[in-house]
């Protein structure tokens, strides 16, 4: 297992996290992934990258600092995203009952390890 894969696997150990991916922010394509069976990462990766890019533009337009964390809550779960180095993005797919606080901490730590 590569160090990158180990980093993603560690994020998925948080309760309720069904998958973690490293995504290229510019093109929304998956670079590496650790997903539970049946979880489709590509659509989430594309949408998360697009959301973060738009959020980045909106923040810049409003004179704010670039976004550091994105959390999108839906009826049956959530998507979390944290920018990492080299235009990469760490994305986690969470169940409704996931520990989002711990997932956020793990994501931020993991983003720091992606160098």
């Amino acid at each position: 297992m590569t160090a990158l894969q180990a980093t993603l696997e560690r994020v998925t150990r948080v309760r309720g996290i069904r998958g973690a991916m490293l995504v290229h922010e510019g093109d929304g394509l998956v670079v590496a992934e650790a997903l539970a069976e049946g979880v489709e990462g590509a659509p989430v990766a594309a949408l998360a990258a697009s959301l973060l890019a738009r959020l980045r533009r909106a923040a810049a337009g409003a004179g704010l600092a670039p976004p550091e964390f994105l959390q999108l809550r839906a009826e049956r779960g959530a998507v979390l995203a944290v920018p990492a180095a080299d235009e990469l993005l760490l994305v986690a797919i969470a169940d409704r009952d996931a520990n989002l606080g711990l997932a956020r901490l793990e994501l931020r730590e993991a983003a720091g390890r992606v160098r």
Binding site: G28, A42, P43, A46, A53
Partner: protein, 153 residues
Amino acid sequence: MRCVEPWVAGPLQAFLDESSARVTLLMTSSGQVIAQDGFTRSVDVMAAAALGAAIVASTDAIAQLTGAGRYGAVLHQGTAQGLYLAPFDTRRGRWIGLVVFGPETSAGLVQLFFRDLAQALAAAEPEARPGGVLLAENFERELNASLRSLFGR
């Protein structure tokens, strides 16, 4: 948007709305144009269809040579715009989509919505017509009819 096959229009319009693609071309694996959006000259669309079909045929040949079976899509990412080229199966045979997109969208989104387009086309597709014999004189007549449909002249 112009379509040779009218039932293609709905799914293609949904794809255009969602993907923000600049240019989209649907063609058969032999390069016959089914629908297009973004082209203004018939020469351009014919050239793009021929080249797109040739690229997919070439990658199929490389996939066979390397034992990869079949590749899903070809993606060229440039600085100003990207090109996504993907074949998909229909009851009428294998079709190919060629999509040119800019920084207002992304390869991931184009890939995502293109997959939706292929599924929507499969759902909307009427029963295939019985195939006729493809003769040289029929080919030219059908080509001219297609170009009239695509460019309104």
